[in-house]
């Protein structure tokens, strides 16, 4: 084909990825009209802002919480919720509210980083497998099959004990196991578009390297992946909370929501609110991300 | 074909749809009568209201977003629109049946074909009992009793025992000329070809012995050869089974092959209604003439096809004059001001156009 012909084919046959700015506006508009998404977005904002604030405060050696989260005896032990101690105090007289707030960066950071990692790795592996086909594709399918056979929590746990406890190790363990669904999803989407005209056009116009094809393909599959990711954040929080409950993440005296529930559980008979507060905050966080994810799905699914 | 034995008598029917773009006037002031043993084709472009009309007759349009603004649908002297839903339901299947365009998705994929036909037959059994009592109560007026008709009575079928039922299913399949019916009743819909599936749908519809069969584009999804076979089958069946057929199609050529009578609709209006030969010999409405000149004639001497200029009328815009005015080559001033009424220029030939009187 002549150079002019090829260029023409690319011009005619290639639907350019929709201009991002215009799309963003339509998505935001759709989100604004969805009540659930708004509630979700507000909750998520609160959590993320709190996480950032606590983190920054920590860097600056100050705190934003009313009390020092690890300081004991700031009030009588097991004090019920009051104006001074919004969530009461625990067995060592520490302010529970401060502890809950201070633990926010843990879950937020872990979940967002795990999702980001899985998204990127999964997208790359999946599209590569879809476009390359053959042995690479088959290998990816079988490896992900193996990962799917072990529940996320159990595998993370097993990797966790090999690595040792701690929040970074748990994040690593989760990253190792979290990417397969994204790779499968990317592969599925990649297969759908692998033979469409604009990909062929791109290849013909000299974009021989897989890298460039991925640059054309990725923007168009990213929507599906992002929708899945937004709904997935909540799941990571829940699994991380489970690992934390099992004592594999942040160790006392530093606060972590799951770990706090586990520790306070023993006092449930006399002070039932104690384990419930961190649990409630966990549930609320997950609700927020879920509502936002649902809203995004509706907004992006429609367009 | 005397019209005093009116099977279906639609008077002044208007149906609107509420859409995001506004109120769409899907069917406007349609008057149509169908007698027994008639094969009537309603022809028109997409969106002209022909499907809506058919769905309204059988009572399957969803009431929001649709709304029946006015009119009556008289079936055997009963105004169907005045009935409550559970009464209306009794007319579905056993009196008025319908087959649709996509035979694959129109049959339930998880049940065998034979079972689905059996279900239709069983409904008929139940309905028999109901309709018996309905006649007794007098809902069906005496002007249309089974004694007057040259057709076999519909209300006195024997109760089916299981073996009778299987025989009835096989008979229904044989009726539509399906080879190996004993095999076919054990099949699932996806195992059959498109043509076979449509025959099954026809068999299923006719197994309930309806007096009126509505067929909404039944051959559009089929290839040309199969299309011809199915149409021919429908025509043959009409005389064998004593059912009237109302065929909905956008294809005037298809309609002319089988219909006795053709009704042309445009943008919700009924614009012409005539015997098929008469229509081809002397089409009256400019739209009909336009449609006829769109049919490829297949002969070497044929001139170029003449499409009708302009685009389809926007149903959400109310109109004061004739809706075809902007595309009509014979448009006059009065056409833009007043809507032409449907007049009978010759016996059996009605047209709504100012070219032919007030």
């Amino acid at each position: 084909m002549s150079p002019e012909g090829a260029a023409e084919e690319e011009a005619v046959g290639a639907p350019s990825p929709t201009p991002t700015r215009g799309r963003l506006r339509t998505v935001l508009h759709a989100l604004r009209s969805n009540k659930g998404a708004l509630i979700g977005a507000s909750i998520v904002t609160v959590f993320v802002v709190t996480a950032l604030a606590v983190f920054v405060a920590g860097l600056l050696h100050t705190r934003i919480t009313p009390f020092n989260p690890i300081q004991q005896d700031v009030g009588p032990a097991f004090a019920p919720p009051s104006l001074a101690h919004l969530m009461g105090t625990d067995e060592l007289g520490r302010d529970v509210f401060s502890r809950v707030v201070a633990a926010t960066p843990n879950d937020v950071a872990v979940s967002l980083s795990v999702i980001a990692f899985s998204l990127i790795l999964g997208a790359l592996l999946g599209t590569y497998a879809a476009f390359h086909g053959g042995l690479v594709d088959e290998a990816l399918m079988r490896i992900t099959d193996i990962f799917f056979a072990i529940p996320a929590l159990v595998l993370a746990m097993a990797i966790g004990i090999a690595l040792g406890p701690g929040i970074t190790n748990m994040a690593i363990a989760l990253m190792v196991i979290w990417w397969p669904p994204y790779a499968r999803l990317a592969r599925g989407e990649g297969l759908k578009i692998a033979h469409q005209n604009y990909i062929e056009a791109a290849r013909l116009s000299g974009a021989g390297r897989f890298r460039t094809i991925l640059e054309h393909a990725l923007p168009n599959i990213s929507v599906t992946l992002l929708v899945y990711a937004s709904l997935d954040v909540g799941t990571v929080i829940l699994i991380y909370a489970g690992l934390s409950y099992l004592g594999l993440a942040v160790r006392p005296p530093y606060p972590d929501w799951g770990q706090m529930v586990s520790a306070y559980q023993d006092y449930m008979v006399s002070v039932p609110w104690l384990p419930l507060f961190p649990g409630l905050v966990l549930a609320l966080g997950v609700v927020g991300f879920s509502l936002l994810g649902d809203g995004l799905k509706d907004a992006l699914g429609g367009s | 074909m005397s019209l005093d034995r009116k099977l279906l008598s639609i008077s002044d029917l208007s149906i609107n749809y509420q859409t995001e773009q506004g109120t769409s006037l899907a069917v406007q002031n349609v008057n149509l009568d169908i007698g027994e043993n008639q094969f009537v084709a309603v022809v028109g472009e997409s969106g002209c209201g022909k499907s809506t009309l058919a769905l309204a007759i059988i009572g399957l349009i969803s009431i929001p977003p649709a709304r029946i603004e006015s009119g009556k649908i008289g079936y055997k002297s009963v105004d169907l629109l005045s009935l409550k839903e559970n009464e209306r339901r009794k007319f579905r299947g056993t009196e008025i049946a319908m087959i649709f365009q996509e035979p694959l998705t129109s049959l339930n994929p998880v049940y065998k074909v034979g079972d689905q036909i059996a279900e239709a037959i069983m409904i008929r059994e139940e309905q028999n009992e109901h309709l018996e009592s309905a006649r007794e109560i007098g809902i069906m007026q005496k002007t249309y009793s089974s004694n007057d008709l040259a057709v076999p009575p519909r209300f006195h079928l024997p109760r089916f025992s299981s073996s009778n039922r299987t025989q009835a299913i096989l008979d229904a399949l044989k009726l539509v000329r399906i080879p190996d019916p004993e095999q076919v009743i054990e099949r699932y819909p996806f195992e059959l070809s498109g043509g076979m599936r449509q025959r099954v749908m026809i068999a299923m519809a006719l197994s309930q012995k309806p007096a009126l069969l509505l067929a909404d584009e039944p051959t559009t999804a089929l290839d040309v050869t199969t299309q011809a076979q199915v149409l021919k089958l429908m025509k043959t069946l009409m005389s064998e089974v004593n059912t009237s057929i109302l065929l909905i199609t956008h294809d005037l050529a298809v309609a002319s092959q089988v219909a006795d009578r053709i009704v042309v609709m445009y943008a919700g209006d009924l614009v012409e209604d005539s015997d098929v030969y008469e229509l081809f010999r002397e089409p009256l409405h400019p739209y009909t003439k336009g449609l006829l000149s769109c049919i490829p004639s297949g002969s070497k001497k044929a001139k170029a096809l003449k499409p009708i200029p302009g685009t389809v009328f926007d149903l959400t815009r109310p109109s004061t004059g004739c809706k075809f005015a902007s595309r009509c080559p014979r448009c006059m001033d009065i056409c833009r001001q007043k809507k032409p009424a449907l007049v009978e220029t010759k016996p059996g030939h009605r047209v709504a156009c100012f070219l032919y009187g007030e």
Binding site: A162, G242, L276 | -
Partner: protein, 340 residues
């Protein structure tokens, strides 16, 4: 391909996956820092030199790694999963045999509740979609799937045991009640077969709260699926045909609609089972229910590596088996897959 070759292919895949899982546990066992013997005897391996020697010989721990891998797999097939330090060095397989039936009990009831509740609420949501019933059901199941299982378990425990004193707080059965004779090795079932109603009713009492906790955090996925499935199905052409035949709306809804809408539930079931058995780790701990979940929890606390590796394998086996069963069941339920 017909059913037989389909089943054969899935079976082959299942075996491949299990070998893959065993490979992972093998790698993990060797990453436990120090001696791989820890994977068999835990960190207290030094206290049991005899056993340690036995293992070193049996598993060729001085030989190259691929030899060890081979003997590891052989050992697994022979049912050798190590000795459990947290349970007094009895074989891990014995512990699993003792605890698995109880987990099956909880998982079974949780599964049944999830499906029944999920399908019913899903159908109601679809029938009244966008109305109040739909929205309140959504709020309800959202609260469920967003709660950590340990949180739901605690809430239920606090409400039903601490506040209302309606149900017991833990254990699998009340004190002093005689156990049924092992027939199927699942105590609740055995007591029912045997007629041991004292055991049966007490065991039922004890299984309700843990099962409900598990069901509460999982039934939402069933509702979601069924709602969207019903809505899809009810807009399909064959539903229109069914109505055109003159069928009653309820017949159309259930016999034609629900029957098709339920098909994806089969696939969902295997995912559901995965989440249910993961949840038992927390729920059994809170309710002191003697199942595998509780064993995992205790193994973690006590650094019982053999226990953790073995339970990872067991969970994988359960999941692979469930997936296989679901695939086969799906073929039975959807004639298109069966015959094409």
């Amino acid at each position: 391909m017909n059913t037989a070759s389909f089943v054969a292919r899935r079976l082959f895949l299942a075996i491949f996956v299990l070998i893959g899982v065993a490979t992972i546990t093998f790698i993990l066992s060797h990453s436990l820092g120090g001696n791989p013997i820890y994977a068999w005897l835990g960190r207290a391996a030094s206290e049991h030199p005899q056993l340690a020697q036995q293992y070193e010989a049996k598993y060729h721990l001085s030989d190259p790694i691929w030899v060890q891998y081979y003997y590891y797999l052989v050992g697994l097939l022979q049912g050798n999963l190590g000795f459990s330090p947290s349970r007094g060095f009895i074989p891990v397989t014995t512990v699993i045999a003792e605890t698995l039936p109880y987990t099956i009990q909880i998982a079974f009831f949780a599964f049944v509740i999830s499906i029944l509740l999920g399908v019913t609420l899903g159908v109601v949501s679809a029938r009244y979609h966008h109305q109040i019933a739909d929205k309140s059901i959504r709020a309800f199941y959202l609260a469920g799937i967003c709660s950590p299982s340990f949180f739901a378990a605690l809430v239920l425990l606090i409400i039903f045991n601490l506040e209302l004193h309606l149900l017991p707080s833990g254990g699998s059965v009340g004190l002093g009640i005689s156990a049924p004779t092992p027939i199927t090795y699942i105590p609740i079932l055995d007591s029912l077969i045997e007629g041991n109603f004292a055991y049966f009713s007490s065991a039922l009492e004890h299984v309700i709260l843990p099962s409900m906790a598990l069901a509460f955090v999982n039934f939402g996925v069933v509702v979601r699926l069924l709602r969207s499935s019903m809505l899809d199905v009810m807009h399909s052409n064959y539903i229109r045909t069914a109505r055109a035949k003159g069928l009653k709306e309820s017949t159309v809804f259930f016999k034609h609609g629900l029957r098709n809408a339920m098909i994806p539930v089969v696939t969902l079931s295997s995912i559901l089972v995965t989440w249910l058995i993961t949840g038992t780790i927390f729920v059994e701990n809170i309710f002191a229910y003697p199942g595998i979940g509780q064993y995992v929890f205790q193994a973690l606390i006590n650094q019982d590596y053999p226990g953790i590796m073995a339970t990872t394998l067991v969970f994988a086996v359960i999941i692979v088996a469930t997936n296989l069963a679901a695939d086969i069941l799906y073929v039975a339920v959807d004639p298109q897959i069966r015959l094409s």
